[in-house]
Symmetry: C2
Subunit: 244 residues, 2 copies
């Protein structure tokens, strides 16, 4: 019996079809999480999502003490669009990058696109690790989708690959960017680009300014760390441009 | 000779009077930072601030290889007001709390006030540790002031002690809060209160709503971790309410 009044406290992302009466086998890691970490018991419920078919409530059936199956009972939320911006960011050192991925996912980012800039000090990413962090954050914050996580690529290549026609708000620490709230108000929906620690190389910034649809923005008079700038811009995007 | 064209890359907070021609003795930890970590040499410059008298450029004089004195040469920035909100927050576990302090300092918080809520899982703070993190973040982001860091106190006591007449925007995850941009637009300057992981106890939230000047706000449809909610609210505050 599912208690409709109690919120489903545990949500799991599964890349499997979800539907009425389905029976699913979670991975050994997910079984461990449910039964050992979260101490769920036979008959308890868990919410499931796969990024495509909404959220479903399922009942846990425990067998062989450490393994379980999930019996899908009913849909708890239909799939709906979760519009969010792409975040183009220069890869950061491990701790700060993991934090950025977690927070950006909570703040509704649609695409995480690492870009290599001239002053990048980190030039590759562990994409699987970033995906794991994004999944955990999506499970925790109630999203119905995962953000896409791209491979790292040079900034110029990424700019050339953009095709959605949105403008690109670029964090500009030189003080000459448009205040973020004014820029969002004037230009509407757009993606976000935050450079590496230490900012863009001046020539790179000049090239960026020439690029079609690029709007340099200012996030205030303080020099923000790269991950702080990304999160501040995303938080403002959600507050000012999201229509949910 | 101070190179006016090169930005002073190192800033140190010193709780000492600053003025023309002053000669200062940094602490052994600061000497270590300047000479060993940052590899500064005799004659290099460093920027200094004390929270009261603006920012000053000083020349490093090295002696006995590992010690140094700082000769103040001139003021580089006058002191100016750095208005920011108070952030009342339920203490978090170590890693997330340290991140919160660093980011809130970068985002211009004026006062960090830990408050104990009914669902708080952490009930004390290491104030000295939090102050150290705030100093490092203030040095890095270019602030001329440090945020104040209070001792932890029960929420009711903290609410009773507020006397600035500002309203208090309270992160409300029940979905019934006013969207943050609308709330800031309607009510203007105010402080921020973010509850513990898992949110406020319902009775506590009901009491909060009865409190004079309390405005429940919504930060969007996702369930944000406590530190994410605090940073999102601060970023919006700076974008929408700061006049710098």
């Amino acid at each position: 019996m599912i208690r409709d009044d109690a919120p489903a406290k545990i949500r799991l992302y599964l890349d499997l079809p979800l539907g009425d009466g389905g029976l699913l086998e979670p991975s050994p890691a997910q079984c461990h999480y449910l039964l050992t970490v979260m101490r769920r018991r036979d008959g308890d419920t868990v919410a499931l999502f796969n990024g495509r078919e909404g959220e479903w409530l399922a009942r846990i059936e425990v067998f062989e003490r450490r393994r379980c199956r999930l019996h899908i009972e009913r849909q708890s939320r239909p799939q709906r669009p979760e519009p969010g911006p792409a975040l183009l960011f220069a890869p950061l050192k491990r701790f700060r990058q993991e934090f950025l991925i977690e927070k950006a996912t909570e703040l509704g980012v649609a695409l995480l696109a690492p870009v290599l800039c001239r002053r990048s000090v980190v030039d590759r990413i562990n994409r699987n690790r970033l995906v794991s962090i994004a999944i955990e954050a999506a499970e925790q914050c109630g999203r119905l989708t995962l953000p896409e996580v791209d491979q790292a690529m040079p900034l110029a290549e990424r700019l050339a690959a953009r095709a959605n026609g949105h403008c690109l708000f670029v964090g500009d620490e030189t003080g000459s960017g448009q205040p973020v709230a004014d820029a969002f108000d004037e230009h509407g929906l757009g993606d976000l680009l935050i450079g590496p620690e230490g900012g863009f190389d001046p020539e790179e910034m000049a090239e960026l300014r020439e690029h079609d649809g690029v709007i340099p923005i200012s996030l205030g008079p303080r020099t923000l760390r790269a991950e702080t700038a990304a999160l501040a811009a995303l938080a403002c995007w959600q507050a000012l441009l999201a229509d949910d």
